[in-house]
């Protein structure tokens, strides 16, 4: 009589916990409604929209160059990669193409921004798991990227550097050498990061068996970027559909095996090294010439629609733009990777412990500015 031998489940009360919108580990203003039984999660409902600023709607009343400024405010941790699809879409509508040097510069700034963004992830993920020191180590290096951007365009968080038809201006003198100095420095620090966090036994214990997401689930949830690659799907827009100067550079995509939190984490750490490689090559093979194509003062693209997508730090960032022939787009829609990646939380969190919530949430690496728009 096996049913008699099995002990009945202990009666326990379910408790509802609001994780956020004000919580140190929600990376912004995300709210997750957690139903817990003791330390275990029974149900998780991510609730987004606390940072909704109506950027897509605002674009409809702005000129095209002004839309690029708004794009900076989407994923504020990697603003450069947000400007790019806006510009690409507008360029497609206008039928212009950025000169080759501008294309190369776009690659350089986007990859530097990816490094900065992943450094932020590295640091905050450490904090999520209780290690505070990696955060400040990562910020030390991130500061250098921000310095480089400041020297390049004056901005440290929102740049407005990539413009429709090219980039704002050429590299200042000596910038390339400074950039190489940063890359050397980063190359020396990355093994340190592995020592400090990646292969720390406690860290491995916290992340290796947690938040497993197989290939099939990752694809069917529409995940992209490092989150998808960590599950073993080798899909990277920079390779699958090269844009700008990505066809010219050689690099490897970091692909994980099991889609655990650690895989997602380590994919990003390895991507930093690859991004550094790309910047190095792009700096070496920088084409000569102008950095801005000939575009009219007032942009009025002919009626039509365009979709441009790039591999942003968090996944595939797409911009769909419709023009009615006016000075501002008739409709703009952003396919935000954070929004789509976030949806998986409802599945990943069930059965996890409360302590694992932050490990899983952190490993998906969301930016609410982009998610809520």
């Amino acid at each position: 009589m096996p049913e008699l031998l099995a002990s009945p489940p202990l009666p326990s009360d379910r408790m509802f916990i609001n994780l956020g919108p004000q919580h140190p580990s929600t990376h912004g203003v995300l709210r997750v409604g957690l139903t817990v039984e003791g330390e275990f999660i029974v149900k998780a409902e991510p609730d987004v929209g606390y940072l909704h600023r109506g950027i897509e709607k605002l674009c409809e009343s702005r000129t095209y160059p002004q839309c690029v400024v708004l794009a900076d405010r989407l994923d504020y941790v990697s603003a450069m990669t947000n400007e790019l699809p806006f510009c690409l879409a507008a360029e497609t509508l206008l039928g212009v193409e950025a000169p080759e040097r501008a294309q190369d510069l776009r690659v350089i700034v986007c990859e530097l921004n990816r490094i900065a963004s992943h450094l932020l992830f590295f640091g905050t993920y450490g904090i999520d798991l209780g290690a505070f020191t990696p955060f400040l180590h990562a910020f030390r290096e991130r500061e250098m990227v921000l310095d480089l951007f400041e020297a390049l365009c004056g901005g440290r968080l929102t740049y407005n550097y990539i413009r429709i038809g090219g980039v704002m201006k050429d590299l200042p003198e000596g910038w390339g050498d400074l950039c190489r100095r940063f890359l050397t420095h980063l190359g020396e620090r990355l093994p340190e990061y592995d020592e400090l966090l990646s292969f720390n036994p406690i860290f491995l214990d916290r992340t290796r068996e947690v938040g497993l997401l197989d290939r099939r689930a990752a694809v069917s949830w529409g995940m992209t970027g490092p989150n998808l690659r960590a599950s073993g799907v080798d899909y990277d827009l920079r390779k699958a559909a090269p844009y700008c100067g990505y066809g010219k550079v050689a690099f490897d995509t970091a692909v994980g095996k099991r889609g655990s939190c650690w895989d997602r984490y380590y994919c990003r750490v390895r991507e930093m090294a690859q991004s550094a490689r790309i910047v190095e090559q792009a700096l070496g093979g920088l084409a000569a010439g102008p950095v801005m194509a000939k575009v009219p003062k007032v942009l009025k693209p002919p009626p039509g629609e365009a979709y441009a997508h790039v591999e942003a730090s968090r996944g595939e960032l797409g911009v769909y733009m419709v023009s009615d022939g006016g000075a501002s787009p008739a409709r703009v829609h952003v396919r935000a990777p954070s929004f789509l990646n976030l949806q998986v939380l409802g599945e990943l969190l069930v059965g996890a412990r409360i302590a694992d919530v932050v490990a899983i949430l952190g490993s998906v690496d969301i930016v609410l500015g982009e998610c809520d728009r």
Partner: protein, 414 residues
Amino acid sequence: MILDERFWPDAVWKGRWSLPRYRNGALWIAGIALGAAALGAAVGEVGRFGSPAQHWIVRHCVAYGGLLGLAPGLTTSAGDLLWILVKTGLVITVVSASPVFLVWWERKISAHMQSRFGPMVCGGFHGWLQCVADGVKLLLKENITPDAADPWTHRLAPAVAVVPALLAFAPVSFGRELSAADLDVGTLYVFALAGVSVLGLMMAGWGSGNKYSLLGGLRSTAQMVSYELPRSFSVVPVLMFAGTLDLTGIVEAQADWWTLPLTGIAFLPRWFVFYPVVGQLAFAIFLIASVAETNRVPFDLPEAESELVSGFHTEYSGIKFSLFFMAEYAYVLLASCLAAAFFLGGGGAPLPWLTFLPSWWWFLAKVLVMVFLFMWFRWTFPRLRVDRLMDLNWKFLLPWCFANIAFAGLALMF
């Protein structure tokens, strides 16, 4: 360009590791060590003042009591009581003031581990007054009791957490003849009292009326009750070797040196941490369990900031919050004192020719080393998960404790 690349880490480090910087740093450290040693040698054993001071107090009590026509028996007791109050006051003052120093130290240490400076302004010299300023700020802050809280539980919890921490220092011997109370069962007393604080944390978690606090309180209960066991058992081999529960007696049992054969030159103190295998194992377990008992990283689950939003003390502010803070640092200090007493020979000098420095000096040095170890852990490790924490305790530490006791028994037999 706007950029000032002189402040980039690679440029800064190039300067830092140059010879002059190295030399200056070494000179500073040597200077501080020499100064501290000179101070210690000049002051000498503080414990020698104890007995005369007691006699002085008792004599005056008897004299003034006699003027009032009180019997000498009564006034002698009154004098003894006064002396106990003085000793207690001293210990409580030192222990309650220590967080100010420890927090400053922790800030500086963590800062330098993270390529920062930490506080640099307040007080002039490396921000040494910062924690005093913070203490004043905490005292002046509004004392909030949430509506949802159980007011009395909420109010009492910090006191219940901090009082045992202070009481537990009574039998700790800070040096030769420097303990507030010479208890025969000192070890038992310390461990018993240290276990009471968990009640305070649980009351805080329960009484705050906050779900995160409740989780933190429950976690702390499970954790601290569990880690009491390996912590107490890891000390059993020490007690077996020393043959006493008295902390002073345990220190005395270590006051000798192993000598080289033939020459008779002492090379290693007979501290319990140097007892082969048994000593090191016991020390490691004691250290791990102590970190867990003090709720510090990597075992800071009850207050896990990123998960439970500071856990049991989420709803505390002002002086009540600072009492919890004080309890944590008092326990760090207590654990360091105990580690020094149980395993590092208390106030004993490492080598015979170093005995010119008084015992309190050595004790302080050892305690500070242990405190540094605690801080080093905190700023290096991530946090363990709650089930792993229990696994580590019940499936690893505790079995090894029992094995260690058996080893110690074997060692004593042969």
